[in-house]
């Protein structure tokens, strides 16, 4: 919020003494480069409708670049299109297309380096290597952009929105599609990702590395190659996101790898191969989430400790939870499990016997994946029932001691 205020104040002060330069294909100033050259800090450059092929355009002073009727900047598959650095730059309403791609340089449609107090909004970016690439920046807003890549494979496609070494950033209301990672964070702190829609990306819808104290809220991650990955980070808050249809042998709603002290609240996991995959994850709080129609709601690896899972709904999942170990200190309470078959004699809404969310069969599958073929067979049902009666293989302490009888209204 403070960032917004700062930027707002910044703009109002600039506007007082600002000039406007119009760039038009048929006008006096007919190239963008010329327009930018003429502009002084605080000026606005209006870019009129048209197709501009000017190679790499560089802005390194605090000006506003505003497109009128979606002018097109074309990189001709050769150049980085727009490079900005410095303070107080504003880019809006432009369509970027066909940026260069290279295995040496991270060519992008919009590249911000050493920038701060900038806004990139209402742009359309198509056919880019990287969409928006921000490095070494702070205090910026990236909002309402539409970024569509033309995915070939993981190697020659960059990320949709890529942030490296940033702080105090806001990424919101963007639509990212067809890149390697939809949104990528590395060494980004104190930033938020809100209401974005990330879909059909080759690898992750959202990829977090070494980024602490961030929040992502209300985003939709649908049908990405491997869902969302949050790795090697601390104090990340994930709230009210949708994780849908992330299918594949290594696809997860969220992959939490070496994560600690975060919260996963009020999210919806629907039709993912695995809802949440926890690996080396500690002290996470997972609550008020809804897991429906997933292959596995969660896979909790043996190296996870002191996580708490409570007040979640687990419904119509093939398996509730799978694990590869037996000794673990994680806590489950007050969840609703639709597979629970216990009773509630005292009518307090809490089942009187514990629920074991790890079935024998899910343990068998961990060892021999081919035996997934026998799912729902009479024999598997008998095995599971036998194990319930005389537990011997499933982790005994992996249990919800107070399962709810009815689903929570979330």
């Amino acid at each position: 919020m403070r960032g917004y205020l700062l930027i707002f104040l910044m703009f109002t002060t600039f506007l007082a003494s600002a000039n406007t330069i119009v760039v038009d294909k048929h006008g006096l100033v007919n190239t963008l480069k010329q327009g930018i050259k003429m502009a002084k800090p605080g000026d606005t450059v209006l870019l009129k409708k048209g197709l501009y092929k000017e190679g790499n355009i560089i802005i390194n002073k605090s000006i506003h670049l505003v497109g009128i009727d979606e002018p097109i900047l074309d990189g001709e598959y050769e150049h980085e299109i727009l490079t900005i650095s410095g303070k107080g730059i504003f880019i809006s309403g432009i369509q970027f297309q066909n940026s260069g791609s290279s295995s040496m340089n991270d060519f992008a449609s919009i590249h911000a380096v050493d920038a701060s107090h900038f806004v990139i909004e209402n742009n359309t970016i198509i056919n880019s290597f990287f969409g928006i690439h921000i490095a070494n920046a702070h205090t910026g807003i990236i909002r309402n952009n539409t970024i569509k890549g033309n995915p070939k494979n993981e190697q020659n496609t960059g990320n949709g929105i890529h942030l490296w070494q940033c702080t105090n950033m806001v990424i919101r209301d963007n639509h990212v599609e067809g890149h390697r990672d939809g949104i990528y964070f590395e060494f980004v702190t104190h930033s938020s990702i809100k209401n974005n829609f990330s879909t059909h990306n080759i690898r992750y819808g959202l990829h977090f590395m070494f980024s602490n104290n961030d929040a992502y809220i209300g985003n939709i991650f649908r049908n990405n190659g491997a869902g969302v990955a949050v790795m090697y980070s601390q104090k990340v808050i994930m709230v009210k996101n949708h994780f849908d249809q992330n299918w594949g042998s290594n696809a997860y709603g969220i992959l939490l790898k070496d994560i600690s002290d975060g919260q996963v609240i009020g999210n919806i996991f629907h039709q993912n191969t695995v809802g949440i995959f926890l690996d080396g994850t500690n002290r996470m709080e997972v609550h008020k989430n809804t897991f429906t129609a997933n292959g596995w709601s969660m896979k909790v690896q043996a190296n996870c400790d002191e996580n708490t899972f409570h007040h979640n709904n687990f419904m119509n999942n093939t398996f509730d939870i799978a694990t590869n170990g037996t000794r673990m200190q994680n806590e489950f309470y007050n969840n609703y499990w639709d597979k629970y078959e216990g009773y509630d004699m005292d009518k307090d809404g809490i089942g009187d016997v514990a629920y074991h969310p790890v079935s024998l069969y899910s343990m068998i599958i961990e060892q021999n994946p081919n035996s997934l073929m026998l799912m729902r067979s009479f024999m598997v049902t008998l095995l599971d029932k036998a194990e319930k009666a005389i537990p011997s293989l499933i982790p005994e302490n992996f249990a919800d001691q107070s399962p709810r009888m009815k689903a929570l209204k979330l």
């Binding site: 292959g295 419904m315 081919n370 997934l372 073929m373 729902r376």
Partner: protein, 255 residues
């Protein structure tokens, strides 16, 4: 042929077992849907009925009916009617009455309470399983001379297809777990109509989990309609081949 089927059907319609079967299914289905607030869970319970009870009843009922209508079959064979016709009429008579019982007992409640693609899959699988196990029962009945042996064989077949077979498959999968088993696993499931029906249902209910499989064969099988067509196709083979073998054997049989 229709003429004879008409009389077979008429005979079964008067048979109380068929009516009892219909009512039994109806009561079970309705009570599942009444008991469970979540209709998806009721469908899950019905899945076990479809995979276990339907094959059992289809086998036993068809076998008993076959022996009980032996007189009728003999009478028909002294008439200018070919054996193939008599057998196929009997088959279509029994099969259609069992399918009708299933559609009333399970199909109707499912369509009322849970009319989605899973419900529909359940109805398709139940119908195909009824047909294939009736077909298998005919083969077993024609091959075995007396009633008690015929029923014994029917029960054994059920036990084999419903339980033992999957146990064997699990054993095979574990003993050869070091080898690539993709195609073999799919092949093994083709050798049991119950497994085929189960996989067809899995493709509707558990696609999220199935997509977790590694391997190109599985990807193709689960990720597209290949799996659906494959399971349905092989189930049709499980309907057609046993009854055709039964016809062949019946043509040579002495009465």
């Amino acid at each position: 042929m229709l003429k004879i089927s008409k009389y077979v059907l008429y005979d079964i319609a008067r048979n109380k077992v068929a009516i009892a079967y219909t009512l039994f299914l109806l009561v079970i289905s309705l009570s599942f849907f009444q008991m469970e607030a979540n209709s998806g869970k009721a469908v899950l319970s019905l899945l076990n009925v479809v995979l276990i009870v339907v094959p059992l009843i289809s086998l036993v009922f068809s076998t008993i009916h076959w022996y009980n209508s032996y007189e009728f079959i003999e009478l028909m064979l002294t008439q200018p009617i070919s054996r193939k016709k008599v057998l196929l009429s009997e088959f279509s008579g029994i099969a259609s009455s069992l399918v009708t019982a299933f559609l009333i007992g399970v199909g109707l409640p499912v369509l009322i309470y849970n009319p989605d693609n899973i419900g529909l899959a359940l109805i398709i699988v139940g119908t195909l399983l009824t047909l294939s196990f009736t077909s298998i029962a005919f083969l077993a009945s024609v091959k075995s001379k007396d009633k008690s042996r015929g029923i014994g064989i029917a029960l054994l077949l059920w036990f084999y297809f419903a339980l033992i077979y999957d146990g064997l498959v699990l054993m095979i999968l574990f003993s050869f777990s070091d080898y690539p088993m993709e195609k073999i696993t799919l092949l093994l499931s083709s050798l049991n109509p119950i497994d085929l029906g189960r996989i067809y249902l899995m493709l509707q209910m558990d696609i999220s989990a199935l997509m977790g499989y590694t391997g190109a064969t599985y990807k193709e099988f689960f990720g597209s309609n290949v799996g659906l067509f494959y399971t349905i196709g092989i189930m049709f083979i499980w309907i057609i081949v046993p009854i055709m073998l039964a016809v062949r054997s019946f043509n040579k049989k002495d009465l």
